[in-house]
Chain length 571, copies 2
């Protein structure tokens, strides 16, 4: 089963480590694997990007954008078909091949359609993949690579350069590319080559695109997370933006497009400073994975961080750009400058009401923790939507569009949604669930670490962690259990350093997390503690007890009680 | 232990059925029992009114308002003291008492202070309770009854007319009231005598004040709950209000008090119609009681209902009354016309932002389901604060006050708050928790009923219920399990009859519940089903798995998964 082998091998790269294969289906032969792959192309690394309507016939539209990236698996499938045909027709033994013809790039370029044949080049070889294209329901998207080099399409993910993928491709080889046309410099083709340097302490979940979280033990050392430690969640390569020529476009308003330079944003609007916690929808996915595998990056508990952001309010910018109430717009779309090879930008939207509200505190941030935005966090401008899932806080902001409808982007429509534990990739209907905006109440233990050994002679244990809730709902209490949930003690909440906690934010505007701490006597007569935390927010929503009942195929919204088991030394 | 006997006897009345006695304390001798009693006076029936800072020394201020109602227990305590003194001094045998002197009401009335002695009358007897007053830390509040009849203070709760209470009172008898001064008509003294008639189908949790819920099996028959079946939650007697002289007072604005008649409210402002579900903070308390007893009325799952309300927006009324932004007010207080005998009105407050928001939809309702408000629901005017706990939806609205601080009422400060399961009446600090405003996500099964027997031959089961969340967060999914939580199916959500569900309310303004239904094949090979439901709201908050970890001493916020066990017939 080469088909399966391919997907398993991909899974081993770590980029797709949670991918589980359904049985191949004849009717929609490529959906199972290509879908998973296209995801990794389209949204980068798979954190919050599952198969697009995987196994769902109507999902093919959404599959198209990523088909090329799925080339490996698609070719693998195609090869299976070829093998089957060969077996059926009892083919002649291949024997030694005669020397293949040499083609110019110009000749290759003529084969750029199903009618004229679809040729591609790869490392000097010329391949006719016409048959493969015709097999594929989303085939015409593949024509984007037709007549040219595969490298730009495969370079995003090193996974395509694996031996078996190349082996499959070799079946389609029809010639060699003329020496002087082999001008591709593979290093210049790596769209991640210009990604910024990162702090070595980060725990990397995916290099390309870069996704990493700080070590748990330092996460809550500071109320404000230093930018270098702030979790990174990129869907695509980090775009290179020249701040002197940067223009933010605002569209969908009666007066047409308005453009603002970085200097405009800094000089024409009041600067607002907002301290806001951002959390990835996939934070704590690794715990959900322990129930049953889900798709996405295997985040620990640190895909959440807190920073101070500064810039103009989106509200002010929209009013400046000519927004008038009474129109039909209901949503504000954000498009990033980060694009995939098809030219599709990362995109998302939020409800217009949040954008316009004086209490919404949505800003177009050009500063993070008092400095220019770092490249990984959206330089020169990102939107910060406090209280809302990280995915809507679009970085490298290119365009703002007012619209009657939500963003049509993959990440708004077919990802970042929650489903029932009973919903699988065969039954999921992405239209049936709303795009995640506000996140549910969350907390986790950052100290002690799982498996730590506590010194019995100290007589007490100190437990530390964070708690946060979406929608500006303030954390009002954190309960901690040392005995697996039988009894509970109330942790001490901590705000910003040196700030009295009774300086509560206005109702509904608690954008920043609360750090917390509990010191309690070590229970006697036990060698092991199961420490649990659970938080309560100002709407008195609580975290659910366990993960299995909130399990969902994308592994998002993982907010059950956090549990840490530690041992107590005997001496 | 007469002291304990008193409290137990009170508990048996059902008004205090969940009361658990801490050991009597010498330092604050009256707190344990008087606190519980004063509650039942002050807030009526104890639904969401626990001992006021029970066992907490600073709580005495809050205890005062209800001391009189606690007369029975207080007297009991006093009697204990007397008995101890008698034992210590080896008193003479009482023997037959000589005839007691006869006093006029005028003479009794002179004894209205500690200095002049504190006398009260009860059913023709005259009692000198001076000693008792001096024993009591909140004693001067008791002077409200001094020189007059006890009946008006005891009539609110039939519990005071019990034999042992009277027996205790008899110890203090000093004379008889002159025949012609015995003019009190006990029926006219019953402040509940003019309460309206109610539908006999209601399940009554407390008669005086009236608290009742509809039977579960009819609760979700209608998207709009008929007013007669809408749960009733009164803290005090229903006030008699003449609509022709009714005046709503608005205070705390720069221009001084503004008064509006009912006609003003109807004619000067646009009429808004809002469909909103109200839920009591104590809904489903009976399930929490099964974990460990809490204080309050033992509500089932039907202290929640949905109605259409109509009236002017509070926002418009405040602006009309002269509200200008930029002031210091942060809260809006509501005071009802329902008062206890000390003249204290039922009261509560909400954040000003909610009141002023165009999206908050707070109205001063004079109609419920298209008709004048029924007496039990606040005739002629109540405030409806969609998305917010029932307790803030003040009925029989008398006064609106803008203020820098929250309402100081018992129900805002020392009740309707949530605590950790580890917090008990000895450790509770009411200041440590915020007043409940928005409620957490909730759902329950209304069909089949617990213990029902399903007909195996039908082959399938239909499960029905409701789901709702606070803060205008829409219900986006209800999961149902037939096997105790092992597997889950998604229920079908239903909106208003004949209304397409894709006509979703604007974000954050889903004030009405969703009814839901699931039809599924009966699992084979089992004689019993444990049916569970759990809902998810638009912030993707979920209900917790179990009650014990959210148990709290007042039994509020009881929103764990709802479980119903049914049997399957063998034929």
């Amino acid at each position: 089963m080469l088909f399966l082998r391919t997907c398993r091998a991909l899974a081993h790269t770590g980029l797709l480590q949670t991918h589980r294969l359904p049985p191949p289906k004849r009717l929609v032969p490529l959906s199972a694997c290509a879908g998973a792959l296209c995801t990794r192309w389209g949204s980068g690394g798979g954190h919050d990007s599952g198969p697009r309507d995987h196994g769902h016939p109507s999902g093919w539209r959404h599959l198209l954008a990523g088909i090329l990236a799925g080339g490996g698996a698609v070719l693998a499938y195609s090869l299976l078909e070829s093998q089957a045909q060969q077996a059926a027709t009892d083919v002649q033994a291949p024997g030694k091949s005669p020397p293949l013809p040499i083609y110019t790039q110009e000749e290759v370029a003529k084969h750029h359609s199903s009618a004229k044949g679809v040729w591609v080049t790869y490392k000097g070889g010329v391949y006719d993949i016409t048959e493969f294209v015709s097999l594929h329901p989303g085939g015409d998207k593949i024509l984007l690579a037709a007549g040219g080099a595969l490298e730009p399409f495969w370079a995003l993910y090193a996974v395509h350069n694996q031996e078996h993928v190349l082996e499959m491709l070799s079946q389609y080889k029809v010639g060699e590319l003329r020496e002087e046309d082999r001008t591709l410099d593979s290093s210049s083709l790596d769209p991640y080559a210009k990604d910024p340097p990162r702090h070595p302490v980060l725990r990397v979940n995916s290099q390309k695109p870069f996704n990493a979280e700080p070590p748990t033990e330092i996460l809550t050392d500071n109320f404000i997370t230093p930018s270098a430690f702030f979790f990174k969640r990129n869907h695509l390569p980090v775009p290179q933006v020249d701040p002197s020529t940067y223009q933010l476009k605002i569209q969908g308003l009666p007066g047409g497009t308005v453009s603002l330079s970085l200097e405009d944003l800094k000089s024409r609007f009041p600067k607002y400073i907002v301290t806001a916690t951002l959390q990835c929808a996939g934070n704590r996915r690794s715990e959900m994975n322990q129930v049953k595998q889900v798709k996405g990056l295997n985040w620990g508990i640190a895909a959440i961080s807190n920073a101070t952001w500064a810039g103009p309010r989106l509200r002010d910018v929209l009013l400046y750009a000519g927004y008038k109430s009474g129109g039909k717009a209901q949503h504000v779309h954000f498009e990033g400058l980060d694009k995939d090879v098809t030219g599709t930008s990362y995109g998302a939207s939020i409800p217009l009401g949040k954008a316009l509200s004086e209490e919404g505190d949505v800003i177009l941030a050009y500063e993070m923790n008092g400095e220019d935005l770092p490249a990984d966090h959206g330089f020169p401008v990102r939107v910060v939507v406090p209280g809302i899932v990280g995915a809507r806080n679009v970085k490298w902001l290119d365009k703002i569009v007012l619209s009657e409808v939500e963003s049509s982007s993959h990440w708004q429509q077919n990802d970042y949604k929650g489903f029932s534990p009973g919903t699988d990739w065969d039954t999921v209907d992405f239209k049936s669930a709303p795009a995640i905006q506000e996140l549910p109440v969350q907390s986790a233990i950052t100290w002690p670490a799982e498996g730590a050994v506590l010194d019995h002679s100290l007589g007490e244990v100190t437990v530390k962690g964070y708690a946060w809730s979406g929608g500006g709902r303030e954390i009002v209490r954190v309960d901690v259990s040392l005995d697996g949930g039988k009894t509970w003690q109330v942790a001490k909440l901590q705000g910003r350093e040196g700030e009295a906690l009774d300086l509560s934010p206005p109702p509904g505007r608690a954008w920043a997390w609360k750090l917390w701490e509990l010191s309690a006597p070590l229970p006697s007569g036990t060698q092991e503690l199961e420490i649990i935390c659970k938080a309560v927010d100002s709407s008195y929503n609580v975290q659910p007890d366990s993960m299995a009942p909130i399990w969902n195929l994308r592994g998002v919204l993982s907010n059950a009680w956090h549990r840490v088991k530690v041992k107590i030394s005997e001496h």
